[in-house]
Amino acid sequence: MATKEIRYTTPAGVEVPPPPHLNKQKSQYTPFNFVNGFIFILVCLIVIVPIWKVLIDSLDLTTGYGMKLFPTKFGLDGYVSVFTNQSLLRPLWVSVYTTVAGTFLGLLLSTMGAYVLIQWDMPGRTLFANILLFTMIFSGGMIPSYLVMRGLGLTNNPLGPILLPAINVYNLVLMRNFFEGIPASLFESADLDGCTPMGMFWRIALPLSKAALASIGLMFAVAYWNDYTNFKLYITDRNLYNFQMKLRDMMQSSDLPESVGGATENTIKNACVITAILPFMILYPFLQKYFVKGINIGAVKE
């Protein structure tokens, strides 16, 4: 069967040559696409190699190092050392409960604040918004903050690094932008049916914002898990360190836990780095779309 040739004709029936963009068969194998693909292989390698190097070193029990793709003497002793050692398990536990409690509290404050800020008719709404926005452009600074935290008894207190980052005006504004997208008619009809403001919050605003809750919740979780500054400033008691603080300490000094089995000092260091990024490494491929959505909620209004 002969292939059907498409003829281009004007409405009057005069035959014309096909438009230039349909003229030539598009080939995928142009030099540009090869170079482009090659560039991205290179870019991905630059990102991956440092992480890969740490990963294989954490699984390698030899003492001779250098460049290699896979561990020469494979063993999990580095991780066994991390997960059996009390001085490492405690910071890990601090990180876990700070992240869980902080994310919950952060989401609660962000959604409640955002929900109030979308009540257009409420007296004082603009004032409330300005009170929040002013904190984005001016701050007391590091030392006055420290003095306030000390005055409140939140230094060397596990509550300090949970409470302080929970109020995040940027996330609150993102949440408000999302709430603004909910049709006002939904709230109006609920109001007519006698629904209370709290009822509308739980039954309309939150259930319709699951994607935004996931994105902003993840932003809080990452911030809490990765928090170093607040611990550095407000916590000096080693028993209250989170994992980032412990990791930093280990990297700076040779304050290393006792090794189990054949794990060398370097193996344990590398295993600690991997442990610190493990939770998000595992969740990341599944949650990537929520992470990306978070940054785009803010961009929608551009």
């Binding site: 482009n36 990102v47 190097k53 003095l147 709290m198």
Partner: protein
Amino acid sequence: MAGSTSNGTITVRQKPLGQRMKKYWGFYLMFIPVLIFVALFHYAPMFGIRYAFYSWKIVADPEWVGLANFEKLFRQSQFSVSFWNTVVFSVIKLLLNTGFAVLISLLLNEMISLKFKKVSQTIIYLPHFMSWVVTASVFSLMLSPTATGLINQLLLKLGVIKESVYYLADKGWWRVWYYIINVWHDTGWQTIIFMATLTGIDPGIYEAASIDGAGRWKKMWYVTMPALGNTIITVLILNLAKIMNLFESVFVLQNDSVRRATNVLQTYVYYQTFNSGASADYGYTTAVGLFRSLVGLGLMLICNYASKKVRGRGIV
């Protein structure tokens, strides 16, 4: 509620303030926790700014000194080094990150294989989720001058260097690696905002350009770049407003041998207060912090004005 006046405009008469406030009492209740948090953690520290005019050695009581702290501040060479480092590090970092992010976004946009594109995006976003402590740990292991340091071993094998270099303990090299590490950490994530703009461009425009005979490069230059221009300016303005906040990325990469040369204002304040024993002066470091906040405020206002000019709305 709406009444019409003689000249055709409609005025909406609101209920009296008291009645409206009564209607919203539940919302005021909901806002109380937010107000408490903001008051404690954002507004209470602002009252501490008064210590900028006191001398407050840790062992003694605060003592009023007027503007003496600011006079001292402008005489200290460490202060001006820190201030200029803050500006230079932030601006160069911002330009490098944005430049690479635009370049990568443009190339990603030209990618034919959707699967390869997705995998690349997943990989380049990854470093953003690693804390600065982890990033610093990874790179200090990589850059280590011992046998475990990948970079030194690689360069030795290639014959580029004769003996191992301790990159993070050398003032010059420290800066170079600071920028490289920042690009590694942030560029991928920055592409998201540019990719969102690129996917928003109407494919009809590309088609029209093709019909008019534009090739790949012409389309990139005359269609894609103008569309990206606005986003690039927005990103630059938004980030320029925040340059005074630089702290953690510098702090975790510093070590004793390069500290004095690489301090930024925030790290300077930290070390002056918490690492100088009994000579620490809360008053002086508050003054440095106040200077930083004021410069930050100024930048914010300038960027806000620029943002209104460029894209019709402010940044806050």
